[in-house]
Amino acid sequence: MITERHLNLLILAGLILVPLWAWAADEPFTITLATRAVIFALAAAGLNIALGIGGLVSLGHAAFFGIGGYAMGILAHHAQSYTALSTWPFLIEGTKSMPVIWLVAIVTSALAALVIGLLSLRTAGVYFIMITLAFGQMFYFFTISWAAYGGEDGLSIYIRNDFPGLNTLDPIQFYGLCLAILCAVLFATARLMRAPFGLALNAARQTPARVETVGLDPTRLKLAAFVISGAITGLAGALFADLNRFVSPTMFSWQMSGELIVFIIIGGTGRLFGPVVGAATFVMLEHWLGGLSEYWLIYLGGMLLAIVLFGRGGLIGLLTRREGGA
């Protein structure tokens, strides 16, 4: 048994060392896998702010993941085909620059989260789960028939987008970029959890009535959390699209939303590194089990079930003792 803080440091060390080893051993695919895990972790880290801290069980976060993905897809598509995105009321051109794409991904998914959150937060509990699911499905069906951007076929981007000073096509460099973003987001989340906002949001999940009686508005707190959460998941979507050099409506599917929740619960709900542990475990399982049997999803299901039923607090909960008693 170790403390959560030490475990987090260990995980961080693993995130740095394993790909470095793979790079030295010329195993680029291991780096690709690690990149996938890191991006999923980022998406789930976004969801974790709404779900883990704010208690908002969103079964529609794939919407933001997809919006981020399509922000990248659409901008890069226009850039590679030298066509303008729109010519009226003013000219908007595509771009292959990652920072610009990220900014667009963050802003659009935050806006979408604002609208979806504003409407969805009128409900609570199961209704909230279901209305977020409904919004996700709207995006899914819309993009499937959105002929201008490939519909169900999606969009292929032939060359990964650029980041100043890096060769993003080199797996280890792209990985480093993704890891840096993940670390930045986790650090910011850690700050946020200790800041007045995190304190109030955390209380709003546990006891909204109390939050009101100290003069704060729990709904507004939750809405802000939802928007931040959507923006981060959107950024992850843009990176995911760049990893695959491809976007498609499956990024919007409800199974995707489900998987994001799965990552969080495997790792440990509301824990800073929960999404990282969950996503890494999931990506590894997917690979090991996928090679073992055609029916590997049965084993995956069994493991998930075992974690929910017997492993409360997720893997981090199993591996650590909680600081501060109990």
């Binding site: 906002f197 109030a200 546990q206 109390r210 009101e212 100290v214 003069g215 501060g324």
Partner: protein
């Protein structure tokens, strides 16, 4: 004496049941005004309407002469009405200090800060620790609330209310579930509090009420049947028949 909080003709019906029947009462500066009544008399309904979580069918609530009937609990809190809950509404997974800090953040109206640790803010921390000090919980500041005793949670409820530096306290059965000793400690604490802001105390514990209250209102079947000093209430025949008689 100044009237701090006043309810006028508050009425609430649930179907055929009249839970609050034109209730009027006031809370004056420096006093503890206790509301007592048997189970089902409508005490909780009354508290809910004064704190704003339930809208009355008729009547009004005023704080320092300002009509707050239409305000939600959040805005009433901002105007200076601090309540404690009968069933503790604390963030059970958090520490004692975090719970009080929430009060301080609320009082400062500053939840929109995302970076600087709340514990590193001297102002907030100072306020929170002062409140804990007053209720005698400072030594427990870093314990998780779920591990506190029942009595300690009651003290913490009061501490959170204190951080708001309120104009009036609204306390919903703070003695509920406390043993004799705990009850006495809390009584002593509330006794000192009234100078800071008056307390509208809804309470079941008669010893505490008789020890603390400057005035007592008796609520039976949604109506206030008597209001007066401890002696007046003790002597009131109607109260004895309707209420104390049953208790004895």
């Amino acid at each position: 004496m100044t009237v701090v909080l006043e309810a006028r003709g508050i009425t609430k019906r649930f179907g055929a049941v009249v839970a609050s029947d034109a209730i009027s009462l006031d809370l004056r500066a420096g006093e503890i005004h206790a509301v007592i009544g048997p189970n089902g008399a409508g005490k909780s309904t009354l508290i809910a309407q004064i704190s704003g979580s339930l809208a009355p069918d008729a009547g009004s609530v005023q704080l320092l002469g300002e009509d707050i009937t239409a305000l939600p609990p959040r805005l009433r809190a901002k105007k200076g009405l601090a309540r404690t809950f009968q069933i503790s509404a604390l963030a059970m997974e958090d520490t004692v200090l975090q719970n009080v800090l929430l009060g301080a953040v609320g009082a400062a109206g500053s939840p929109w800060r995302f970076w600087r640790s709340v514990g590193a803010d001297r102002d907030l921390r100072g306020k929170a620790e002062a409140a804990l000090e007053r209720v005698g919980l400072l030594s427990e500041a870093h314990r998780v609330v779920a591990t506190l005793s029942h009595g300690q949670r009651r003290q913490l409820e009061v501490a959170v209310a204190l951080t708001l530096a309120p104009k009036a306290f609204l306390m919903d059965e703070p003695m509920a579930g406390l043993g004799t000793e705990g009850s006495q400690r809390l009584t002593a604490m509330l006794d000192g509090l009234r100078r800071e802001a008056p307390i509208l105390l809804v309470e079941h514990d008669m010893d505490a009420v008789f020890a603390l209250a400057d005035r007592i209102s008796v609520l039976v079947y949604g109506r206030i049947i008597a209001t007066g000093s401890v002696e007046e209430i003790r002597a009131n025949a109607e109260v004895r028949a309707a209420y104390l008689g049953e208790e004895a």
